[in-house]
Symmetry: D2
Subunit: 162 residues, 4 copies
């Protein structure tokens, strides 16, 4: 089973720019994270965009849906900012990308920080995508939710069932 990882940015991949003191995007850390996890999975990486999900437009979401539909793989993990992850999950479901298991995941703390949840979430998402039946899911906090049954709790930062 080959898995495609669509990289869209989000907190997962934010880095600290020491000259400006701001957070920004450079290259994705996903391949490095998989090397660290000693993953032996057959993975195809694709960086679709590198943005904060609060900045995503309908056009951006449409591009993600498009890549998910057109790629050869039937198992897809999408790294995404947590703020509008559910919106993208809904767009994917609405587009009817059938026969594929799609799992969106992200991080509350950038991987570049020592205390990141990124590696845990990535391991989690990659496992779910191998065993869940075709549909669109969100994988956060060790759990998985169907696209129409979750939301991000803005106060706690955690995802929960609705």
């Amino acid at each position: 089973m080959r898995i495609r990882i669509l990289v869209t940015g989000g907190t997962f991949d934010k880095e600290y720019d020491e000259l400006t003191g701001r957070l920004y995007f450079r290259d994705t850390h996903l391949p490095e994270m998989l090397r660290r996890g000693r993953s032996m999975l057959d993975i195809q990486f694709e960086t679709v965009m590198m943005i904060d999900s609060l900045d995503m437009t309908d056009a951006d979401r449409a591009r993600i849906v498009s890549r998910a539909r057109e790629c050869d793989e039937r198992a897809i993990v999408i790294s995404h900012g947590t703020d509008t992850m559910v919106d993208t999950a809904k767009a994917l479901a609405a587009a009817g990308v059938s026969g594929k298991t799609i799992v969106l995941t992200g991080a509350m703390v950038p991987y570049a920080f020592g205390s990141s949840d990124g590696l845990f979430n990535l391991g989690s998402a990659l496992s779910f995508v191998q065993v869940l039946t075709p549909d669109v899911y969100v994988a956060m906090n060790g759990q998985h939710f169907r696209w129409d049954a979750c939301r991000k709790n803005k106060t706690t930062g955690c995802f929960e069932t609705v």
Copy 2:
């Protein structure tokens, strides 16, 4: 779904003793790892032993089997040294612990080291245990293997299907 994590030690939990220069076991890092992963799973921790799996005796393995059988949970993750992880998986299967999904995982590098695969494997194992049908599995390198279909490749350090 409540998940029981049976801690047995292994490289996962090794620490560096600065006074002797040797690796040793103190307290398990598993709870701290789940906090870092921001896990919202309902987990019950149990430290069964803290040893290198090369030092496991039949009596040790019997105790692990015993705890897996007797605990209330139907989803169990076992942190374990990678060297004899498959032996313990086989012992669990032979004991016929029915109706439970048991996933063994470990790490090639101690969590206490910066470059550990531990957090990735833990996220992976916890996800598999929530979805796989009752049986005994090994989760390493992002993959999952049935107890009777894998081995550790001593040269590469990776797990593979047999």
Copy 3:
């Protein structure tokens, strides 16, 4: 020799707020850094403020000068944002805090990030303060500069002699 560490914030102590995605200040990491360095020095910590040095006003700088003058110690290290570190060094020199060795240091990357220079700079500053003759200095990039002989190169982020 007792050393006073006056904490003023700066990149050294910035943290990532996972709910807002922004960098902010909470408690200083300096005591934890000294524990990690296994420092046996006699240190007195004092948090004067926790701000980005670009936000420092004359009143803020006056308070730092005031604390440096009034404290009992003759050896003082000041953790400070790098952007206006030289300005504070000049203010200290102008105030004529005599008989004291004062060393300002900071970090280009927050200590909370894995790749921080903070621990290196702290070790450096604490060593310089024990040996240099009374005056005001900046310690960055492994080097030390007198207050009237350095500036921060905004392009490279490094400090250099003028």
Copy 4:
């Protein structure tokens, strides 16, 4: 001022071998540590040996003394295991390497571990070597000791004045 760093191994540079589960030496981390500290110092690296200082023989110590004497630099930092650091300091003093400031330092925890004191000690030693008068010193725990006035306390792991 050019500084020579003589690398001899010690806990500073130990790494974890995931295939054997043992600690061993590969390449020194010193250059990488200086990049992380954003050091602008003029440094010449020389790996003399990579061993645990408990395994040092008189011949090994003689080689270190030899390199310290023959190199062009007048400021030398030596990374060394802490167990017999004082013995090497004494050997250097006995050899009468005159006109040079030599500072030995090490680490209680390998740099490869997240909680290492290595970066702090390196920053400390490099600062001391730039300002102390020619002699042989040990720099540990934020402090500096003359070669004939210190020992390692085997119980606490810290260095103290004698």
